[in-house]
């Protein structure tokens, strides 16, 4: 097997990684819709999806089946080729960008082949990500144009203007981090944040030395929310003005593809924010013998979550729920216990902290959507060009000043 892997590393090592990651990502996308609906519902004192499966857990499946069986309508006078191209472009670009994200430290070893945790580890990973994000606007713009309808056209125009404007801030806000790390390689950016201050907090860039990137982080996240066309920057699909904006004329699975693209770019942006400002896969605790017990946090949290779920599930309203929820709880408990095993404990550390931080960012995304009202269009442009962009340039200047000053 090892020799076979050495002969065909692409087939035996890389391809399974791609397939597994795609499967995980698409499942995560589906459950992200569930998560968002639940969180927004609770913010608005509602229950959210509850009927399909216990706590609405099968809702994404029902939605998926519904999308597949709906009639696929192409509007009269649409530019057929571009109309079909736009959703594919949007989804494929959004999903591709996950390929450069590192999920854990160092390499895995599969059949004797060392390979990065994540699909690939590029020297220009960050630039590739920005390149893909900058291409992402085509999905929206072309969808709006090719529908041959006024609301989509207006939505497409709005969102292309918005994405061009906020891309500048997005790019400028990470320059501070790049100056501090001295590399575009996402793995190396994370390892450059290793270690803790003597007073305990980790060396993450958001509170980094010599210049904490607090402003960089805030600017990045604001611009990223605008770049992914999410509330409060979702003017491209402002339902009170534009029906549904650029995807008004799309139905069936093509609509679902735009939906998935939006959630995929949310995940990418959360990954990126975690890597750049919050230490990626690094644990927040110092790596000293005093804090050795923190290595059991993944195991303990999974086991406790499993126990809580099982305890809650036994008393669920429906019989189906009384079977499924305790079962899920026991699976989580089993996973948690296996995370405490000597060989596994080292492997799960990185992905656990990474996914936890991504989850926090995704929650903030939904929280912001549930809290803030939508911008007006002129406010959006003024805010982007007159507030965010000058601030991000100032951040670059101040950061480089401090770096030069401290190096002397």
């Amino acid at each position: 097997m090892n020799e076979l892997a050495a002969q065909h590393p692409l087939l035996i090592v890389v391809a399974p990684k791609v397939i597994i990651l795609l499967f995980v990502l698409l499942t995560a996308l589906a459950y992200l819709t569930w998560f968002e609906r639940k969180v927004v519902a609770h913010i608005q004192s509602r229950w959210g999806p509850f009927r399909v499966g216990p706590h609405g857990l099968l809702q994404p499946l029902a939605d998926g089946v519904k999308f597949l069986f709906k009639e696929d309508v192409t509007p009269a006078g649409a530019d057929k080729f571009v109309y079909f191209l736009a959703p594919f472009l949007a989804l494929s670009l959004a999903v591709t960008s996950i390929a450069v994200i590192p999920f854990g430290p160092k390499g895995l070893t599969i059949f004797g082949q060392a390979t990065p945790t994540g699909i690939t580890n590029l020297n220009i990973g960050l630039l590739i990500l920005f390149a893909i994000t900058s291409m992402g606007v085509y999905g929206v713009a072309l969808a709006g144009w090719s529908s041959n309808s006024k609301y989509p056209l207006l939505g497409g125009l709005r969102s292309s203007a918005q994405m061009i404007s906020y891309e500048l801030t997005l790019t400028m806000s990470v320059v501070g981090v790049i100056l501090m790390a001295g590399t575009f390689n996402l793995s190396e950016i994370v390892t450059s944040q290793q270690g803790n201050y003597w007073w305990g907090l980790p060396h993450w860039n958001v509170i980094g030395w010599p210049m904490p990137q607090v402003f960089g982080c805030l600017l990045f996240f604001t611009a990223a929310v605008a770049e992914t066309n999410r509330a409060p920057f979702d003017l491209a699909e402002a339902e009170s003005e534009l029906v549904a904006g650029f995807h008004t004329e799309y139905s069936s699975f093509k609509f679902a593809m735009f939906f998935m693209a939006e959630y995929a770019s949310m995940i990418t942006v959360s990954c990126l924010a975690t890597i750049l400002f919050f230490g990626g896969w690094l644990s927040p605790f110092p790596q000293t013998p005093l804090f050795a017990w923190t290595r059991f946090i993944p195991a303990a949290s999974f086991a406790l979550a499993g126990l809580a779920l099982a305890a809650h599930g036994i008393r669920y309203i429906t019989i189906f729920g009384r079977i499924v929820l305790p079962f899920l709880g026991i699976v989580l408990l089993g996973l948690g216990l296996s995370f405490a095993l000597p060989g596994v404990i080292a492997i799960v550390q990185g992905p656990f902290w990474f996914l936890l931080k991504i989850g926090v960012f995704l929650f903030v995304y939904v929280w912001v959507r549930g809290t803030l009202p939508r911008f007006r269009y002129d406010q959006l442009m003024n805010f982007g060009w007159k507030v965010l962009l000058p601030l991000s340039i100032a951040n670059v200047v101040v950061t480089s000043f401090f770096i030069v000053w401290m190096e002397r």
Binding site: I124, F130, F184
Partner: protein, 167 residues
Amino acid sequence: MITPQIGVFLVLAAVAVAGAVSLILQRHPIHSALSLIVVMVALAILYLLQGAEFIAAVQIIVYAGAIMVLFIFVIMLLNAGEEERTNLSRLARFVGVPLGGVFLVEVAYWIGRATIHLEPAPPQAVSTRDLSSLLFREYVFPFELTSFLILIALLGALVLARREESN
């Protein structure tokens, strides 16, 4: 012997040329713009093949991701329709087409002569660090001069585009 690199090069070169031809032949401005994006992405991957990572990424970020978005934005904003196609004018038919043919033959001749004895250069990765230290130390004066030139063009465009205040 076709190595994977030559194979990738051939495919991308074909894509780039096809995109360029399609750019001219398409009748709708949006389709032309899309063809141009294809050309630029193919060129970016060709740069990557040569080991110029930074240039490749910048090619996509700046040209495909920013400039072409503006092109498409303007085409959408003006809602430009399909071009009408005319038959070749007399000047084009009797002077343009033969002249184009002559140039094509000439270029083909010189390219054929120039590359026939050349060994393909081994691709060497140029790190972004090397590139930027070259740009900001050795060539800092031309670099700043170019940025100044662009700034002047920007201001000029602003002055031309601004409406006179009516008071």
